[in-house]
Symmetry: none
Subunit: 317 residues, 2 copies
């Protein structure tokens, strides 16, 4: 072998080394011996082959599309965590898939041996996820609800998930003994000043991981369906740009919290800081697209669990 300096010959060698390594499955020592070079050089050729993209790896599994979408979501919206599950082509259920994925992620946090604080919001999707959790003993952790558990008619709010979670997970849990929406700013101030509530608020602010649903606005959205807002209030909000809500906090197309009379009455703990907490939203479905996009755009979340078609939309334009 004459001149080793020419690029062509070097790429040839890289290809050959890469072939022996990846296709033939030889070790770099064997490659070095076969090609009459040192092991280090063999290693360099192999990594050159990778760097020059001579080696193409393909994953033949439906999951690969989802992983790629997740990667792109992470990049585009500067997320810490993005998980994409295959879309149910029939679109039958709004929770199939992401419930399991959400449960798996919650479980990963719960499995940690060091004590952490997990905050949960509300909503059908999150409830479905929590229902997938296996029984676990986690005395070291604390679980706190971000939203009140008293519905508009005074009954227990059905989609408050912390109680479902407490059924499965043996850990201290902290509900919010409040209505979801107070009747006035003053009432909220009074309620939030109770010792019990204050400690829950403080706990929520320290959450290490936060799981929330994302609600779309509209007369068929959860806020109306569950009776928290009347039709005309909702329509007025939408007129003023309201696009989605997380834990009752209503935000616009850019994901900015609206400054209006509804947000002033929301009793929920503020969404924990995205600096100190992993705030993961669970949502999918065409109806929620604008709400999800706005939440990500406004950095209300730094984690998302969604499905393929939603991810594709979020990346689409």
């Amino acid at each position: 072998m004459a001149k080793r300096s020419d690029t062509q010959g070097r790429l040839d060698d890289a290809a050959r080394a890469g072939w022996l390594y990846y296709v033939a499955g030889r070790t770099q020592d064997e490659i070095a011996a076969a090609m009459g070079i040192s092991r280090q050089t063999a290693q360099r050729l192999v990594s050159l082959a990778v760097a020059e993209r001579l080696i193409k790896v393909r994953l033949d599994h439906p999951i690969s599309v989802c992983l790629e979408l997740g990667e792109r979501l992470r990049e585009k919206f500067d997320l810490q965590h993005a998980e994409v599950v295959p879309s149910d082509p029939l679109g039958a259920s709004s929770t199939v898939g992401i419930a399991e994925a959400g449960a798996a992620e919650i479980e990963r946090w719960l499995k940690r041996p060091d004590p952490i604080i997990i905050a949960v919001g509300t909503g059908r999707t999150l409830k479905a996820a929590v229902d997938q959790l296996p029984p676990m003993e986690c005395p070291q952790h604390r679980i706190v609800s971000l939203t009140g558990n008293i519905g508009p008619d005074g009954s227990a709010a059905f989609y408050n998930v912390i109680f479902s979670m407490a059924d499965a997970i043996k850990a201290r849990h902290f509900p919010m003994p409040l209505p979801v929406l107070c009747s006035s700013v003053e009432e909220r101030a009074t309620l939030h000043d109770q010792a019990l509530v204050r400690s829950t608020l403080a706990l929520g602010a320290q959450a290490d991981a936060t799981f929330v649903g994302i609600g779309e606005l509209g007369v068929d959205g959860p806020l109306c369906v569950d009776g928290f807002l009347a039709r005309d209030e909702m329509l007025r909000l939408i007129e003023r740009g309201a696009t989605g809500e997380i834990c009752g906090w209503i935000y616009d197309r850019q994901g900015r919290l609206l400054d209006n009379d509804v947000n002033e009455r929301v009793a929920s703990v503020p969404i924990p800081s995205r600096e100190t907490s992993r705030v993961i939203g669970l949502a999918q479905g065409k109806r929620k697209w604008p709400a999800i996009k706005a939440a990500l755009t406004g950095r209300l979340l730094n984690g998302i669990i969604t499905d393929e078609s939603t991810a594709a939309h979020l990346l689409g334009d």
Copy 2:
């Protein structure tokens, strides 16, 4: 995480881990942390992904030496297609390398939008190539087997590749519901006269691309090892000049089909015309050298995929 015992979920995890490792370039420690499992488990998932062939590595770089050998092969034997892959110096496997290259070539044909007919022979090398094919939807093409799929003992012939191909490629496929070798000329005539078989025979003759293995003769060759021919029959054939076989058709040193009682009983479709079909052989290895050389000399093929050392030998003298 619900059921961790189910195979499907495990393969999903394996795909995830494999993707993170090979595509995203993460270390196994990072994967373990991300998936909430131990490093050892992550390692197991990665190697499972490899073992289950979820991960396919391909080298996209024509090494100039191989290119040159291919060029000279094309010229010397008047071939339409010649592809040479690097030789594994340890020569451990007889299919490593050309399987990937063969799969890539098959894939190129399958990707064509216009409907074509692809014929396949049999053999270990071809089987290995077909196993490398990614799932594809090709409703426009038809795939036909040149060889029967019933083994000498009546069971399904293991190295009949059309079924493996049907697993990956969604296209109409046409097996040959026949033994590989008939018991007599008369039986072959009868069998070939069946309507189903006649249409398959006709289809094979029209093949646009044909992929076949090349078998060497000898008591260790595939015909004997797989039980199609007895030792003494084989020895008698060799005495009479038999050098190799393609789809069971036995030929001599010049690549001329032998006129004997074995060829009279071969149930296979005749090798498609080299005028109208691209007939590509996949073979490498010293033991096959005479068989390959004869096949090329006799123009039984107009395409070859082989390895460096074989190519060098074919050009050598």
